[in-house]
Structures are given as C-alpha cells and as structure tokens.
C-alpha cells in the first residue's frame, strides 16, 4: 500500500504512431491493405480482387466469342482457345464467384449480427492473401508453365480437367501443375474463410440475436460456409491425387495400370456440384435482403425460406452424377440422380414464390438493387427450367456438352449470380463509401447488360439444339450455326458496354456521388444502424436485438416487430 503514484500534470501521452500510418500516402495505403485484419477492408479487397479477375476472365470470353463469330475463323489458334476456356472457367468459379461471396460475407456478416469483427481476424487476412496469391499463381502459368518441355503455357484441360487429359502423357510441361497447385492453395484459403464465417455467426452474435432472428443473408452465408467446408476438401483430395499421379507415378487415374478415369469424374463432381450451390448462395442471400427492403414488407415465410436453403444445400450433396449421365452408369444410378436433382427444384421453387409473395402487395421502390433483383428472378427462372430439362437423363444424352449446357449455366451464373452481385454492390455501396450510386448510370448499366446478356446467351440454347458442341474452336460454314454465333458475339460487346457503365458508376459516385447518410434505403438490418462507412469497431455500443428487424423496432417503438413474432 505504500507505493506512491506520482502525477506529473505537464506530462502528455505521446500520440500513438500506428504501423502503416507514418509515411506518405501511397505507401501508407499499400501498408494498410497488406497489414489490415479489419473484416470490412478485407471484404472490399475480396470484392475488388473478384471484380479484377472478373474483367480478366471476361476479356478471355470476349476473345473466344470473336473467334467463334464466323465459321472457319483463325483469330485464335486452337491451343490458345483451349487455354482460354480453361482459364475463363477456372477464374470465374474460383477467383470470381467464391471471392465475391466471401467478400460480401466478410463485409456484412459481422455488421448484421452486431459483432465488432470476425471471430479470427488474422485467419481472415490469411484466407484473403492465400486466395489472391493462388490467383496470381494461376496466371503466372502464362509465363512459367512451359517448363523444360516448352509445350503448352496456361492450363488447357478444361475447368473440370477430366482424366486422362491431366496425365503426363497428354499434358506435358507444367501447365496442369499450375492449375492443380493453384486450386489446392485456393482451397485452403476458402476453407479458412468459411470456417471463420461459421464460427463468427455461431459465437459472435450480439445479445438477443438468436438463430431464428438472423437475417436470411447470414443464414445463406452459414449454409454456403458449410458447403465449402464439406466440398472444398474433396477438391483438395482430387488435386493431391493428380499431383501424386503426375510426379510420383501413382495410379489413381492411370487406366493402363488399373486406375479408373471415371473415378476422377465422381470425385470432381462430389466437389463440383455443391460448388454450384456455393456460387448461387450469395444470390439467394442478397435477394432475400433487397426484395423486402424495396417492397417495404418483411420477407414472406422466413422459416420456410431458411428451411429451403438448408434443404437445397443438403440435396446438393447427393446430385453430383447428373454431370455424368453420358459416361454409362447403371440405370439405378441414373434414376437416383435424376430424382435427387429434380428434388432440388422444390425448395428452389419455394424460394422464388416467397420472393414473389414478399413483393406482392408491397410498395415497390424501383431503385437499382430491386431492378437487378427482378432481372435475377426472371433469368434464374429460365436457368432453373433449363436445369430441370437437363436433370432428365435422356435429355442430357441428347444435349450434354452442347451449347445448350453452356447457355444453361451462364443463365445461372450471370443471370442469377452476377445480377444479384450488382444488386448487392448498389445496395451496400452507400454503406461502404457513404455515397449514393448514380441512378441514371445504373440504369444504363442494367439495360445494356441485360440486353447484352440475353443477346449473347439466348441463341446459345438453340445452337445447342442444332448440335453445336461446347469447347470447339471453330466450325464449318454449312452447319447453320453462323448467324446465331455472330449474334451471340455482338451481345458480348453490349455486355461489355454495360460493364463500362458499371465501373464508371463506381468511380463517378465515389468522387461526385451524393452523400448517402447512414441509412439511405430505410432498411431494417443492423448494418444500417452504424455510420456509413462504419468505424473500425463497427458499433460503439453493442446492440441488443429483440426481433428479426431490429431497426424497425428502433424506428417504430410504438409498434415493434417483437410484439408480433
């Protein structure tokens, strides 16, 4: 007790100098990007990197469409064409779709559940950088892959890399190894981030935020993370097997030594089909937030919506072989996978009807997010219908590996996923930057992109019916495919114009956009309770939640939701 405390009135604490803030501006920004463990910065970095890779993969698609615009065209040599579709597919799935999903989850999940950060912030940074370097590694193959054999450069085995294309005999040089190792690395990053999201949601919710009150966005991200945890390790196993085959002489997929090439297809699609639902989950997530807010009604059938997402994820683990109807499985297997695939349409249909029921009788505000979500509803319906057609084995026997399949999954991934990504970016842009996105530029973006999208991909359904196989680099002029291919290529130019408006809008609104205020859309979830952009700690005082729409309760104390739930 005898210790004396000397108080020096004149002493002033030195200003804390934080790492990354002591030098000039560009260095400082770079340092902040590299050192940050803040979920909001990492979320924006995920989205930024995803959009960067999106532009690169989109350019590859543009090159392929130019090659296919005319019969007997020689714009791209065949080997470059093979590399282009492989890189396009791999990039869009692993370096665009998943990072965008993780970006939105990273930015929004902690805010929506009233937490100050993710459960493991450093693991979060690890996940981002591993993903980013796996992407750079994949693209480095253009420079580094020829190796000693001087054969091939970028990977050219297709994004599902069917065996035996990946064996040493058919894939010389190191291009396949770049593909393999990049996905192995990316898989580690994805599992890390998915683990982080799960733990965050289950362990970091603010008081009162029970599982039954989670925004549906958060539910979808939980389901997405579960799928990543279950599916991505299967892909990693596949990549380990290929590497063992190629470098240590293992016989997993070596048919001459008793290996089985079809086993690769099973293993790949056990990962690959849940992956499809991983990619569409952000679409469900964003739509379920945007439609209620812009219809001024709570989501219709909350418990059913959550159950439907969980059911979709569960069923999606047992449908993989519908990608393999043409390899000659036994009839019983065909029947099983047809049935399980058709079952997916039930919960998916429930979701579409519930979104419509949310809009029905609502006071619709046709802002950019709602416009893009309405586009999503129409296009996802078409994608679902062609999906149901392809689920029927005899139909697939006719149209497998044709442009019909290409059209189907582009309707899912562009018409479905990408449209809602745009909706999400416009919806949360004010939250992230404090500025409103420009409505007029957004409308240009919407109409150009929508028209361009349909002009590109609608004719591809019919090209499929006419027998045009996917992944061919050119075709003869007597097939009757030339007009529709030309139309399809013109559509790409219109889409690209739309994307230019989108990118311009992001920059324009950041500099000249109107100030948005904290809650420009009059929304109901917790991310709008804090400032725009949110401070590093998100909430000065952790909120306490009593219903599914905490901000409604706060704004309408006379008639809060918790009285009715």
């Amino acid at each position: 007790m005898s210790q004396e405390i000397i108080i020096d009135e004149n002493y002033r604490m030195p200003e804390p100098v934080r790492v990354g803030e002591e030098t000039g501006s560009l260095t400082r920004v770079m340092q902040q990007l590299v050192f940050t463990v803040d979920h909001k910065k990492l979320g924006l970095m995920y989205i930024g990197a995803g959009l960067l890779f999106f532009v690169i993969a989109g350019l590859l698609a543009g090159l392929m469409r130019i090659q296919l615009a005319f019969p007997n065209n020689h714009f791209l040599p065949p080997d470059v064409f093979n590399q282009s579709f492989t890189m396009h597919g791999t990039t869009m799935v692993f370096l665009v779709g998943m990072p965008l999903a993780f970006g939105f989850a990273n930015y929004l999940v902690p805010l929506m559940i009233g937490a100050r950060d993710m459960a493991f912030p450093r693991l979060n940074a690890f996940g981002f950088w591993v993903f980013f370097f796996s992407g750079l590694f994949l693209y480095f193959s253009y420079v580094g892959a020829p190796g000693l054999y001087a054969a091939g450069s970028a990977p050219d085995v297709g994004w599902f890399a069917y065996s035996p294309l990946t064996t040493k005999a058919f894939s010389r040089g190191h291009s396949t190894d770049y593909w393999t190792l990049s996905l192995l690395l990316g898989g580690i990053g994805s599992v890390a981030t998915a683990l982080n999201i799960l733990v965050t949601v289950f362990c970091m919710r603010c008081p009162g935020m029970t599982l039954g009150r989670l925004p549906i966005f958060v539910w979808c991200m939980v389901v997405l993370s579960f799928l990543v945890i279950l599916a991505l390790p299967c892909l990693s196993a596949c990549q380990i097997m290929i590497s063992l085959d190629r470098y240590l002489g293992a016989k997993f997929f070596d048919t001459q030594a008793g290996g089985d090439a079809v086993l690769w297809q099973h293993f790949f699609w056990i990962f690959g089909h849940p992956e499809v639902y991983i990619l569409i989950m952000p679409a469900f997530a964003i739509t379920s937030e945007v439609i209620p807010v812009f219809s001024r009604k709570p989501i219709f059938g909350y418990p059913i919506m959550v159950a439907a997402v969980v059911a979709i994820a569960f069923i999606s683990l047992g449908v993989w072989a519908h990608h393999m109807f043409c390899v000659g499985m036994v009839s019983l297997a065909n029947a099983f996978f047809v049935t399980s695939t058709l079952l997916v349409s039930i919960p998916t249909g429930i979701k579409i009807f519930n979104w419509l029921a949310t809009m029905y009788g609502g006071k619709l505000r046709f802002e950019l997010p709602l416009i893009f979500c309405i586009g999503f509803l129409f296009q996802f319906l078409i994608a679902g219908l062609t999906g149901v057609m392809l689920a029927v084995a005899p139909f697939t026997w006719q149209l497998s590996d044709s442009y019909f399949v290409v059209a189907h999954f582009h309707y899912v991934l562009i018409g479905g996923l990408l449209f809602t990504i745009f909706a999400g970016i416009y919806y949360w842009y004010p939250k992230a930057f404090g500025k409103m996105p420009d409505h007029k530029l957004g409308l240009w973006h919407f109409w150009l992109f929508t028209i361009g999208f349909h002009v590109t991909f609608l004719p591809q359904h019919f090209l499929g019916f006419l027998g045009m196989p996917r992944r061919i680099y050119t075709y003869q002029d007597d097939r009757g495919w030339d007009t529709m291919n030309l139309i399809s290529t013109i559509g790409v130019a219109i889409q690209a114009a739309g994307i230019l408006f989108f990118v311009y809008n992001l920059i324009y609104s950041y500099i000249w956009g109107k100030k948005s205020g904290d809650d420009p859309w009059d929304a109901w979830t917790l991310e709008w309770a804090t400032t725009s952009p949110p401070p590093e700690y998100n909430f000065a005082k952790l909120p306490v939640v009593k219903s599914r729409r905490p901000l409604w309760d706060a704004k309408h104390p006379e008639d809060p939701d918790w009285k009715h739930e």
Partner: protein
C-alpha cells in the same frame, strides 16, 4: 439508436470460438479423408499385379496400441490441468507426445519393410497408390499433432502455461482424438477388410 433492452445481455451465452473452430476444421478434414478412404475401398481387390494386401500387410498391433492409449493419456493430462496439477499435466502430455512419436516410428519401420523388402511403392499398383496416400495422409496428421503437442509441452515445461490456455489445450486434444478416430477407420479398411478381399 434506442434498442429495447428487456432481454438481459448478461444472460447471453455463446459457444467458444476456439472449440467451434477446431470442430469445423475436423469436419473439413473428415471430408478430405472420406475421399481417400473411398478411393481405397473402390480399388480394393482391383490391383492388376502384386504385391497384394494379404501378402504384405501385417496387423500394426504395437502402433495401434500406442495411438489408442495416447487418447487416454491426453485425457489424463487434461484432467490434471483442470485440477491445477501442472507436473501431472506435463507428464501425461509428454507421454502422449511420446506415444505419437512411437506410432510414427512404427509406421516408418512398416513403410521401410514394405518398400525395401516387399517392393511395394506408390507406383507399384492401385493398392500401393491408395495405401500409401491414405496411411500417409493419416501419418501426416499425426506429425502435425505431435508438433502441436510438443509446442504445448515446451511452454508447459517453461512454466508458461496458464489457466487461460485451457481452451488451446482442449482444442489440440480434440484434434488428437480425431486423428485417433481416423486411425480406427484406416485400421478397419486397410488392415482388417482389405487383407480378406480375394484378388
């Protein structure tokens, strides 16, 4: 913002992030192992040439005993930690690590025997491919587990292990039990089932 505050935040209890994190990791690892186990089962009895499992595999009795008993010793170590008995903790934790090291030695000796005396390598046939990849993947997890065990052991011996580390210890013990459980599957599939399958 004025939030309704009738629910008492003090009553708000959520699971521990570390425990849930390790359980999620275990789920992911299970998916990884599943694929290798399925590959082993798929190629069982399908090798085009020898050596075959029933010719070369011997039941790994000592290794199995070591690994299974290590699950018991890690439990004893944890019980000591909860009772505040630090020397007891270090002892049982060290025994666990030693049993893990012995298992690795046993596997190494088995592989030496298989490679140099029985001529079974990864490239021999589909049995060799699936055997070494599955058992090797498990052994790799044992190596990681042993390194984690040794890390904790060193900090315990240096007196740096405190009561707020119980969760770290618990997470590592979950992982170790998981590695043990995987061995039950590997043992059943590789050493019990496949040696009985006719070629």
């Amino acid at each position: 913002m004025n939030y309704a505050t009738t629910e008492n935040p003090a009553d708000w209890k959520l699971p521990s992030p570390r425990k849930l994190g390790i359980l999620t990791l275990i789920l992911a690892e299970s998916a990884l192992f599943t694929i290798f186990v399925v590959a082993y089962l798929f190629y069982m009895g399908k090798s085009l040439n020898g050596p075959y499992p029933h010719e070369v595999l011997e039941f790994p009795l000592l290794g199995t005993i070591a690994l299974f008993s290590s699950s018991g010793t890690i439990f004893l170590a944890e019980r000591c930690l909860h009772a505040g008995n630090k020397p007891g903790f270090s002892l049982w934790w060290g025994v666990t690590a030693a049993l893990g090291v012995y298992f690795l030695y046993f596997t190494g000796a088995e592989w030496y025997h298989l490679i140099f005396e029985k001529n079974l390598t990864l490239a021999s046939n589909t049995f060799g491919t699936t055997f070494y990849s599955l058992v090797g993947l498990h052994a790799f997890h044992v190596i990681v587990g042993v390194l984690l065990l040794l890390g904790i052991l060193i900090s315990a011996l240096r007196g740096r292990l405190h009561s707020d580390h119980t969760e770290h210890v618990e997470a590592i013990s979950y992982y170790w039990h998981f590695v043990d459980c995987i061995w039950i599957v590997v043992l059943t599939v590789v050493y019990i089932l496949s040696v009985r399958v006719p070629q």
